[in-house]
């Protein structure tokens, strides 16, 4: 074993200051973790937004455009364009619904877990 004499000459450790600094560093680390989590969630939310935003536009434009082209070809203006507009809008909504259904299921599961937690605490 070493004797105390061999230890290098260092200032005595100020335990109160050390604890304080340790707490500060830990708080900063936890805050970083929370911020990272928040930015990850924001990233996914933005991803979902990008995914569904364009779906409606494309549905309506393709539906109306296709209907218009058929109208020009068959001479039935403007009925197929109106029909195409409606069907295209519905198709866009259907795609949005399909893309967001999995998130709905996820949120429902989270809600159910929360409800179970609350029931347990009572």
């Amino acid at each position: 074993m070493f004797s105390e004499d061999f230890l290098p000459d260092i200032a005595p450790i100020d335990e109160v200051a050390l604890d304080k600094r340790l707490a500060e560093v830990r708080a900063a680390r936890d805050a970083d973790a929370i911020r990272a989590e928040a930015s990850r969630t924001a990233g996914t939310a933005m991803g979902i937004g990008f995914r569904i935003g364009i779906e409606l536009v494309v549905g309506v434009v393709i539906g109306a455009g296709g209907g218009y082209a058929l109208d020009r070809w068959l001479g039935t203006a403007p009925w197929l364009m109106i029909l195409g507009l409606i069907v295209g809008f519905a198709a866009g909504l259907r795609n949005v619904f399909r893309l967001t259904a999995e998130y709905g299921a996820k949120w429902d599961a989270a809600d159910a877990a929360d409800a179970a937690d609350r029931a347990e605490k009572k």
């Binding site: 990233g43 933005m46 990008f50 364009i54 779906e55 536009v57 198709a91 259907r94 795609n95």
Partner: protein, 241 residues
């Protein structure tokens, strides 16, 4: 130079014409090669001397691999891992094309609908074939959701068919529109910097912030494209209930 759309002009680097068809090697072709080269380089350098405790480049490659693998398994199930090479390549290509497009004097290949639509069409046709191979004619049941009154099929089936066929269009328009809009906006704002003189510092600050946002969008759009391919692949692999 002030024309914000000038950056999208396609120029012929090496004019080639075969039997009346223009097959010229353009700046777009050059940048596709550069992007493919950069992506391959990252993978090759990262995996040159693989170690159990990865170095920086190897970590980056492993992270990319894991992100795509997680996406495939969580969106389309473990049996979709068979298609990992194609999905991973698509992701890397779009990611590098988007990021390379942010460099000054570069050309953004993903800001052209021809490029994004070609990729979306390959994914769409491929996924449809996978669906037919996996489920046979049962794949068509996707257009007739179960559990509705028979009369509703008159309305629902056309809607389902249209919603299926607009997928490649929304997939490609999303990527191309986001990349193009971002780049045009950057160029327009950058034009204000010069014309406003000393007050140009305001658009300069906005351009700096926009560049950060565009970097996020570049990564996110590559990811969104990949996720959607996986979601569509899921429809092809698993029958609807």
């Amino acid at each position: 130079m002030a024309d914000p759309l000038h950056q999208f002009v396609i120029t012929k680097t090496i004019p080639i014409e075969v039997a009346g068809i223009d097959l010229s090697f353009t700046n777009a072709s050059a940048w596709m090669l550069i992007v493919t080269g950069l992506a391959s380089l990252l993978i090759l350098i990262g995996l040159r001397r693989p170690t159990l405790v990865p170095g920086r480049t190897q970590s980056a490659v492993e992270m990319l691999y894991e992100v795509v693998d997680d996406t495939i398994v969580s969106s389309a199930g473990p049996e979709a891992r068979k298609y990992f090479p194609l999905i991973f390549t698509t992701f890397l290509f779009i990611l590098f094309a988007n990021l390379a497009g942010l460099l000054p004097y570069s050309f953004t290949v993903t800001s052209h609908i021809a490029v994004t639509f070609a990729m979306a069409l390959i994914a769409f046709v491929g996924i449809t074939l996978v669906g037919i191979a996996h489920q046979g004619l049962g794949f068509l049941r996707m257009f007739a959701p179960a559990g509705v009154p028979p009369l509703m099929y008159l309305i629902l089936t056309p809607i389902e068919i249209v919603s299926y066929f607009i997928r490649p269009i929304s997939l490609s328009v999303r990527l191309f529109a986001n990349m193009m809009a971002g780049h045009v906006l950057l160029k327009v704002l950058a034009g204000f910097i010069v014309s406003l003189g000393i007050f140009g510092i305001v658009p300069l600050a906005v351009v700096v912030a926009m560049t950060a946002l565009e970097t996020l969008v570049a990564v996110l759009q590559a990811y969104v494209f990949t996720v959607l391919v996986c979601v569509y692949l899921n429809d092809a692999l698993h029958a609807h209930h």
